[in-house]
């Protein structure tokens, strides 16, 4: 399948459910088309000049097909719900019990960039060491990440194909997604809900760092910040550009992001 390689721990559930559902569907499709083609060949006028008015035999009993369809449906429903239960439905408590303490990042989608708010070294939001990254989500390998997402203007959708994560980002609401990345690297984030003329350029990336790199990155952020109070500046090994997003941390939506920002460039 052309699906992107999976780098998350929960993606296994999704990929297998999707594979099984797709294969079952494909099988039913191939079977139907085989029968239809047979019908075309054997029952064309030149081959079968006298039609059979009443079909007989078990195959013509629609009730049998009802039952087989219900079985087919149950297979799909079971795998679908199973995969869903292992991904979206997981509560934060059960996740933390399994994977340890989560790295919580508050995400704000705006026309046409993503802002990622970190709690900094003290792991508490609303303190002096909070910082915000623009279009760059930095996370630690093998550590649970919980994203609390909201939007500053219209609906966006946060999609990371490699992480098997997609969820809408809605003004006035907070939606939550989680993942545990198991491979270091840089992975693209796409916006999958039409959000205006720059929708197609609303790109970002997730950088998964090894635990040691992540710690030193976090430390460097804290140092940079204590030396530079005031508007947040870029720094750290990732050289990500920081976007000043007013009043997104407390979740209120009063001020709109500067519309001239357009597509925020990432400095490399």
């Amino acid at each position: 399948m052309p699906i992107m390689p999976d780098i998350s721990t929960h993606g296994w559930w999704l990929d297998w459910s999707l594979l099984i559902i797709s294969m079952v569907t494909l099988l039913v499709g191939i079977l139907s088309f085989a029968l239809i083609i047979l019908a075309l060949i054997y029952f064309r006028q030149s081959k079968n000049p006298t039609p059979t008015r009443h079909l007989s035999g078990w195959i013509t009993r629609l009730i049998i097909l009802d039952i087989s369809m219900i079985i087919f449906d149950i297979i799909i429903a079971v795998f679908s719900t199973w995969g869903w239960a292992e991904t979206i439905l997981k509560s934060e408590e059960s996740l933390e019990a399994k994977h340890g303490e989560a790295l919580t990042v508050n995400v704000t989608g705006r026309q046409f960039f993503w802002a990622f708010d970190y709690a900094g070294g003290d792991k508490a939001f609303g303190t002096a060491d909070d910082f915000t990254l623009g279009n760059d989500l930095v996370v630690e390998k093998d550590r649970l990440v919980v994203l609390n997402m909201t939007s500053g203007d219209t609906i966006h959708s946060f999609f990371v194909p490699h992480l098997r994560v997609k969820y809408d980002v809605i003004p006035g609401r907070t939606t939550r997604v989680w993942f545990v990345p198991k491979k270091a690297g840089e992975y693209p984030v796409l916006c999958t809900e039409l959000c205006g003329l720059g929708h197609y350029k609303m790109l970002s990336n997730v950088r998964v760092l090894e635990p040691d790199d992540f710690d030193s990155w976090l430390d460097s952020r804290t140092v940079t910040l204590s030396e530079n109070p005031g508007p947040l500046r870029s720094g750290g090994p990732g050289q990500s550009q920081t976007v000043h997003v007013s009043d997104s941390k407390d979740g209120s939506l009063g001020a709109r992001a500067d519309r001239n920002v357009g597509v925020t460039p990432r400095s490399q």
């Binding site: 797709s22 029952f43 079968n48 629609l62 869903w84 809605i170 205006g196 929708h199 009063g254």
Partner: protein, 562 residues
Amino acid sequence: MAAHAAAVHHAEMGWIRTYIFSTDHKMIAKQYLLNGLFFALFGGIIALVFRSHLAMPEQELLNPARYNAYVTMHGTLMIFWVAMPILLGFFGNLTIPLMIGARDMAFPLLNMMSYWTFFISSVVIMASFFVPGGPFSGGWTAYAPLSANTELTGVNWGINLWAVGLALEFTAVLMGGINFIVTPFVLRARGMSLMRLPIVVWMVVIASLLFMMSVGPLIAGTFMLLFDKNVGTHFYLVSADKVGDPLLWQHLFWFFGHPEVYVILIPGLGVISEIFPAAARKPLHGYKHIIFWTIFAGILSFMVWAHHMFIAGLNPLAAVGFSITTIIISVPFLVIVVAMGLTLWGGSLRFNAAFLYAFFAYVIFIVGGLTGLQLGATVADIQLHETYFVVAHFHYVIFASVILSTFAAVQWWFPKMFGRLMNEGVAKVHAISTFFLFNIVFTPMFILGFAGYTRRYASYDHIPLLQGYAWLNDFVSIAGVLLILVQFLFVFNFFYSMIAGKRATANPWEATTMEWSAPSPPPHLNWGDTIPVVERDPYEYAPEVPSNGADYEPQGRLMTMR
């Protein structure tokens, strides 16, 4: 006699009352058809423009804002200004009175108003192309707040005209729908019991009922959208002190939107079920099953709307419930599809062009239905929602039910509209090339969807992730352009046959239903000096004891009045 009646009609009514402000159901059907076909061509050309833009971004055919606007208008026009007028306005008006043996609709004047309201709505939506800011660009689903706030898209009048045009179009279809529901219940000929109604009549009745029951919330929602945008209310908009809910629009839209999918699907299935028995020369298999399961699917369609919103902020537990109802809805459609297949099985198939169109519609619909099951699984949406997979899926459903079954219906009932036959050869070439090109365009989109191609992107060239499949997307664009170009074969065939096609006899297809007892084309008030009387079930092909020496028994006969 037919010519005489037509001449009387002309003399009585005058040119304007015959061709423009006509109350004759056949003329209104033709008006709906031509209006719908115009928008089908226009919507297709819009698609041609934006796919060309994707294939050749360096040509800058469109800027991103225009790209979004064209994608939006393609969807809007194809659903509301092509599918609705053709599948309800055209099918309903042409078939219902002729098939049930009536002389016209129950409320002819309302019928005329229905079309002309629709015409005004067409003018309104076309006007949106010429206002400052261009047409609406927030997607055909018009998710708030993008649609409710001018600042977010830069489109102002485009949104107003979109919303007003839509409300007018709904009003038009509602007026038509009253006729489609009332007429089969009150104006049936003697002997035409409900269980003898041809299947397409049942389908239009069920579709009209579904539309009536679902459209109210959306009309209200559309006005709330206009208020949010222009008056400053906060139904959907969120601000610091006034909190609306953007999800409200999605609920209102899809509560209408899912039944709407069946509104434009089941009349198409009706046309297929109408043509299959005549092509196979045997009765429709499981007539009652098809009707009752369609009604069941219609009821269930009110309980599945949130499957469009699995990952849109809906409670994830509710998503499981909606997923299960969505999967259950496959059962009625399986029965319908199998009943159609068993109609062919054991038959003596005549491969005329109308059958080819209907058959291709049937095949394509099966793919659409099966991929719908995949998307109905909650877990699949995490990867596939809002990707080209979804685009491919709904094109498989809607192209089958709307476009191909329209071609089938036009080919089939052309004699009853214009008294002539469409050219079989051109139609066959058109059917086969459309079928293959359609599959070449949309099958790769399933793969692109898996690969992460997100829909509604004005360009993919700047995304390194997707470059592995860029060639496939270009291939889709080229095939898509060809698909639209071959549609001109149909345009040519339609107008050429209208003027110079072979003259049709009353019953060129040797079909059974009542409209084939009327002359081609039927005069005003359809039956002249005779009264239709129905004597048997609608699809009596291959009767055990043929009474007329043919291999079919007409459903009824015409009795002379005096």
